[in-house]
Symmetry: C2
Subunit: 411 residues, 2 copies
């Protein structure tokens, strides 16, 4: 595929990608955009130029605060919108070529949260992460709880506090216990952490009582984002029994602005880890359902260069997205377009592939040296956490850009 | 206060109440209504008759699928809407009296889910309930976990599957473990339960990073509903470690259609239980913050009369709503109008005041005899679960109506 757009060969936003997002310019009007190279294609303006004319959808879904109404058109339309754009960008006679104003430099736009998240679910699907946590907090000989290999453990998260990359986060305050048999005190968390995750956006609603099979699940996944599930480990440790994490997570989670479609990720499908014991039939699946996505996390202290502290990969996931969706709906729980399902922390086997400071510093016992700015057990005030992700197969590169937030001091 | 409307003295919907809801007639247009006696006052029609004319809000918030836009006007408006209606209903020269068509019989309308719930949080704030559960599943000598008396334990629930009273629920399927050291199997839950809860509707949004004090919390609570947090105990037992209940709850939760305002509940404020040990300062509060609300649960098997199986009271709550809100936001988590915060199961001290079958039948060991239809350990297919709630002080009665759903067989 050859495009007439000039794109750096290391760009995440190649002609093979074309992710969707919500952007605005100085007029603050939010519109649907597609990232290509270092520009945003204004999809609303492209519609006005007639490139989608046989698709017959309402242009108003392209001038919207969120992608939800666009996504709700269904893959029968949205997949075509993407491939029509791809064709135009490869066609040297395209009407887009003679209308350069439909392309706006990415550094001149404001990106916004791409979707209005109805419900946000966080899974716990990396076996390396779950094993590390179980080893640290429970028992190295029985690190995984008995249910872990039988179902993709998950829980509901807070949707209201999901923010877009570039928005910053205040260190949360809460109850922590400083030592065994001591009373809780109230203070700013001293153990703020990132969690390297990816999330997928539900692209099709279901009715209460319906279930989605692992076979059908691809039709319900619009695309994927990078996701930093900020966590306050000291608050979490005290509060989480017996009903799970609550305030330790709900102060913020950061999402990348570009939603990479499942179609763009198709070339990067691979087999996942062998599942043993065998899963129950409703969780069984055919063919490769994991994705080879290189992930990395960097910490950048204020006025310092960054240090990459983790290099992981989405392919490590024990439970795949199809299984997560099948499990989530097997009880009849209904889905809405725009729901977010996150993977849980994505850790690999090697210590440099762990997806959280809790694991990288082994609960604070092994500080992580940075190139500049000292060492870190957890995240300090004014540190910026940057996550990146991309797929590469020969010359084909499809990337997610970044999700980036700075931890500010407690309010 | 004397109204010209004829109201049965046992009506939940006295002139002192005037709760808000969303109703429709045969034209399927959803509008804001206020319950009075056995009728619904069409608030949209009342607006057109000019009774709110100095309040200057947009009539379109009254013709809406949900109360959210109305609630978002703020208490400075919504409290007046209610008191203006109260005045009109007491004024024998009211324009409403000469327009009987603004009153529609409740049995001639369809009631809808009153709010679009953004995020739903479920607390665990009844000490009797938490003690019962801890006694049954962990250790009678240490029934409460160490954090329980220091903070209102809560977790995020699924918002999409909240349904209005009258909608029915299918028995969920899922993974259950039938005995110690046996593998999980997939089957319809054999332990479907109700949880007697009340929920409050957030009436005012906050920004990320803001906290709400216990003093200010009343301004953030629009009103209250009855809430049946359906639970599948066998699924819950297997899945809930370490991240909390998930599919055991997300198949459905039932909400009553009328939101009783905090102002209507003002006369029923009382002191709550003594909190010992003392709470941290951010959870401290002044004055009575509990509410004396009689609650009951009945089971009605198909073609049988109902049996009241539990009589409880909202006053038993160890943690009050102001504390729940202060805790929820102390880490900076933001609130949106329409968020739902539920109490957790409301159990009293006596076995007949327990708020779930799990407690009433003591994990199935003591079947509950019904007047008709046999005995129950848990809920059977085609049983209808009915919850009611009301406050009474002398002749003043303010009630919640009912929340009622039938459990249908598994899909």
């Amino acid at each position: 595929m050859h495009t007439w757009i000039k794109i750096d060969q290391n760009s995440d936003f190649s002609i093979y990608n074309l992710p969707f997002g919500i952007f605005s310019e100085s007029d603050n009007v939010k519109r649907v955009g597609v990232a290509i190279g270092d520009t945003v294609l204004d999809v609303y303006a492209a519609y006005e130029l007639g490139i989608f004319k046989d698709l017959k959808f309402d242009i108003r879904v392209l001038e919207s605060d969120y992608l939800n109404d666009f996504i709700a058109l269904g893959k029968s339309t949205t997949v075509k919108v993407r491939t029509y754009i791809q064709s135009e960008l490869c066609n040297t006679n395209s009407v887009l070529k003679s209308h350069p104003s439909v392309f706006i430099k990415q550094n001149e736009v404001q990106m916004h949260l791409p979707v209005k998240v109805g419900d946000y679910t966080d899974f716990y699907s990396s076996i390396e992460h779950a094993t590390n946590i179980g080893t640290m907090f429970r028992d190295p000989d029985n690190a995984l709880l008995p249910n872990w290999k039988h179902l993709p453990v998950g829980y509901h998260g807070r949707a209201s506090s999901i923010i877009v990359s570039g928005e910053n986060v205040h260190r949360p305050k809460g109850q922590v216990v400083l030592g065994p048999n001591t009373e809780p005190i109230f203070q700013p968390s001293a153990r703020v952490d990132f969690e390297l995750e990816m999330g997928f956006i539900v692209g099709k609603s279901t009715k209460l009582g319906e279930s989605v099979s692992t076979d059908a699940a691809d039709n319900y996944i619009f695309g994927k984002v990078l996701f930093n599930d900020w966590s306050a480990r000291d608050i979490q440790k005290w509060e989480y029994v017996p009903l799970g994490p609550f305030l330790a997570k709900s102060f913020a989670s950061s999402m990348s602005p570009w939603v990479v479609t499942l179609e763009a990720l198709e070339p990067f499908k691979i087999d996942g880890p062998q599942q043993e014991p065998a899963v129950l039939p409703y969780l069984d699946f055919k063919g490769p359902k994991n994705y080879d996505i290189h992930l990395e996390v960097a910490i950048q202290p204020k006025n310092c260069i960054e240090t990459v502290v983790s290099q992981s990969n989405f392919k490590y996931m024990y439970w795949n997205m199809n299984q997560q969706l099948a499990h989530h709906t097997v009880n009849g729980c209904n889905l809405n377009v725009g729901d977010l399902m996150a993977s849980g922390t994505i850790s690999g086997k090697n210590p440099n592939s762990y997806g959280s400071m809790l694991e990288l510093s082994w609960a604070g016992s092994k500080p992580v040296e940075l190139n500049e700015g000292g060492a870190r057990k957890f995240i300090q005030d004014n540190d910026t956490v940057i996550m990146r992700g991309h797929c590469q197969k020969g010359a084909i590169r499809v990337g997610f850009g970044t999700v980036k937030s700075t931890l500010l001091k407690a309010n």
